[in-house]
């Protein structure tokens, strides 16, 4: 049986499983799972939340970002797991006690203002929209690979499937379906890593192999040393150094962490747990399940880097391994024979080709510039192998002898990750436009029927916009696009929620001014540098748009507190409410979302 047939069978089976479980759960009363004292244990809820949380960015893009970025890729690892600590310790238990279902609801009530709610809805729309853009790209990459079509066609096919899937309810909110999804994703992600770890390091546990030795050819050498050597030979910076300044790394990590703690669709997930105590336990399980994937990602990144280079670099194009054609056919990996010698040469930013045809690795960026000035006919970028970070996870198992069923399982996992998050976000986005924005603020006399109609229109329009940005992505890889969404969340919701929970005195004027200034600064900076062609040399303090959310957050805090000094204190009942949310007992029953 060939690989494609096997892929379809596994994807079909996994979906049959999800639908089967969904059907069975629905049949035995949906309500049962949500009401207080319901049957969902913190463990199951933790697994379901982990499935919710793992999107295309984590599952498909992150290991590739690590493979290409080395140490610099750690920003995603720490940002997205560390953010969970903030979320659990600072936000969720208090918001759960407060008991309203959405973030704009909390902001509207805590800041006793319709306008605050309106601003919060707008922020949520921007955040979700940016997030979906990344997911649509992920959906496109997966479908392009599955059907061997161009990535732009993949995005369009994917968009149609997401639309149908979201119409089915996206399987969201059915805890046990998500538990099944988590299991598929976790096995799909880790099984190839076991096989590759054995092949490269002789150790079955990838995390041990990663800190162990590389044994695949000749004498064993420490694995990371091998990686560093490969990188340097080809003109990349050392794997353990990466190519990111400390301040940028710091800011991006901080923006991802604080963004996680302000992300509307994650916060909402914890409202389905029965009380504050269960919320803490459930968050614990969630992070543990997420950690399974996050601890494996760096090993997959490192292994795939070694494999990719040893199998493709310096090889005659006509002798390239069979799997290369898979990725070439979908246009995701291309070979451009710049010097017409028929050999694939993969090189990094420090490499150049002299006019004599000799390939040289410069010791530094300045040395390269000087050499290029001397030899004006030299080729500044001799790299002949072009591919995106997003395909590394899918290409990885082909490079080692991973059995075909494990590859098929991986494809099923990729589809689950991409579809579930995209569909889930689409639901959140369309309901926040139709319900929070139209019904609650603009047109209170909207009938239920009209509300549903508006939700459909909103989801169609946002999907179209997201698909457009999936075809023409705002950044090099998915994880980076998604990082923008986190920057926006960090600069708008995180400070406002945090102050709202921990300070009685913060007034609506302060919060509104803070949110508006934080998000508009961040959004403006991202748009200027990603879309309007701003020169990276002009970065403020050297902070890239990915990390600017951290600065936006500081601006939000500063503006909030300054405006707060000049505005009246909140009414007494609001102050009372803030007192209340710190008392852990007596939370209202769990809500369905």
């Amino acid at each position: 049986m060939d690989q494609d047939t096997l892929n379809y069978i596994f994807i079909g089976l996994s979906f049959a499983l999800y639908i089967g479980i969904a059907f069975k759960s629905r049949a035995s009363s949906t309500k049962e799972y949500y009401t207080a004292g319901g049957g969902v244990s913190p463990l199951a809820n933790g697994m379901a939340t982990a499935a919710d949380w793992m999107s295309a960015a984590t599952f498909i893009s992150m290991a590739g970002a690590l493979a290409l970025g080395g140490y610099a890729g750690s920003r995603f690892l720490m940002g997205w797991t560390g953010g969970f600590v903030l979320l659990t310790i600072l936000m969720v238990p208090y918001l759960r006690k407060f008991g309203k279902a959405t973030v704009p609801d909390f902001i509207g009530d805590r800041y006793y203002s319709k306008f605050a709610r309106f601003v919060a809805v707008l922020c949520a729309v921007f955040i979700c929209m940016t997030y979906i853009m990344g997911q649509m790209r992920g959906v496109g990459v997966v479908f392009s690979q599955l059907f061997s079509i161009e990535i732009s066609s993949g995005v369009i096919v994917g968009a149609l499937i997401v639309f149908l899937y979201a119409g089915l309810g996206g399987m969201k909110g059915i805890t046990y379906t998500q538990v099944a999804q988590y299991c598929v994703m976790a096995f799909a992600y880790t099984i190839p890593a076991f096989y590759i770890a054995i092949a490269l390091t002789g150790n079955i546990i990838p995390q041990f192999g990663f800190v162990g030795e590389y044994i695949a050819d000749g004498d064993p050498v420490p694995f990371l040393e091998k990686l560093n050597n490969i990188n340097q030979e080809l003109g990349f910076s050392k794997y353990t150094d990466g190519s990111m300044t400390m301040i940028d790394m710091f800011c991006i990590t901080a923006a991802l962490m604080c963004g996680t703690a302000g992300l509307p669709h994650v916060i909402v997930r914890f409202f389905t747990v029965k009380n504050v105590k269960a919320v803490r336990k459930s968050a614990c399980w969630t992070l543990a399940f997420i950690a399974v994937i996050y601890l494996t990602a760096p090993t997959i990144g490192a292994f795939s880097r070694v494999n990719l280079i040893s199998q493709l670099n310096g090889i005659q194009y006509s002798d390239a391994p069979e799997w290369f054609s898979r990725f070439r056919d979908s246009g995701q990996m291309t070979f451009k024979d710049k010097n017409n010698d028929g050999i694939i040469q993969y090189t990094g930013p420090l490499a150049y080709r002299k006019s004599s045809g000799e390939l040289v690795i410069a010791p530094s960026e300045n040395a390269k510039q000087a050499a290029l000035e001397d030899d004006t006919d030299a080729m500044a970028d001799p790299n002949e192998l072009i591919f995106g970070a997003d395909i590394m996870v899918m290409a990885n198992p082909y490079m080692s002898d991973v059995p075909p069923w494990a590859i098929a399982l991986l494809m099923a996992g990729c589809i689950a990750a991409a579809l579930s998050t995209a569909a889930g976000l689409l639901l959140v986005l369309s309901t926040s436009i139709s319900h929070d924005l139209l019904k609650k603020i603009i047109k209170p006399d909207l009938t239920d029927k009209e509300e549903v109609k508006w939700a459909r229109i909103a989801s169609f329009v946002s999907l179209a916009v997201a698909a457009y940005f999936g075809v023409y992505p705002p950044s090099a890889f998915i994880a980076k696009t998604v990082a923008f969404a986190f920057g926006l969340a960090a600069s708008s919701f995180f400070p406002t929620l945090l102050i709202g929970i921990f300070s009685k005195r913060m007034s609506r004027e302060g919060a509104i001014a803070g949110m508006i200034s934080g998000i508009s600064f961040t959004l403006g900076y991202i748009v200027y540098f990603q879309f309007l062609g701003g020169d990276p040399a002009d970065y403020l303090l050297g902070i890239s748009p990915e990390g600017i959310g951290t600065l936006g957050m500081l601006i939000n805090f500063a503006v909030s507190f300054t405006v707060n000094i000049f505005s009246p204190a909140p009414p007494l009942e609001v102050q009372q409410m803030v007192e209340e949310i710190h008392v852990p007992s007596g939370a209202s029953g769990a809500v369905d979302h």
Binding site: S74, F84, F210, V211, T240, R280, A283, H582
Partner: protein, 87 residues
């Protein structure tokens, strides 16, 4: 419920939060970013991987999970001590 209980509970809770957050900041921003080169040079490697790099890619995540376990356990004790028991 009396005021002093709520107040002491809140203070104890804040103290725990601050402690956990300082550990959180130390393992992520400290070990893995700001002090990374010092850690690489002066602390024992994990297997063949320099300590700072290992913290950035593996260690910090493990610490985060442990932090949440500590949080859940300590908060349950705190709640029970102040009489906020609820099942």
């Amino acid at each position: 419920m009396e005021e002093p209980t709520a107040r002491s509970h809140r203070i104890a809770c804040l103290k725990l939060t601050l402690f956990l957050l300082s550990v959180w900041a130390f393992v992520s921003f400290g070990c893995s970013i700001l002090l990374r080169s010092w850690m690489d040079g002066n602390l024992p490697s994990v297997g063949s991987v320099p300590f700072g790099f290992w913290m950035a890619q593996q260690g910090s995540i493990i610490c985060f999970v442990l932090l949440l376990v500590v949080y859940a356990v300590c908060m349950r004790r705190l709640d029970n001590k102040h009489g906020y028991t609820e099942e």
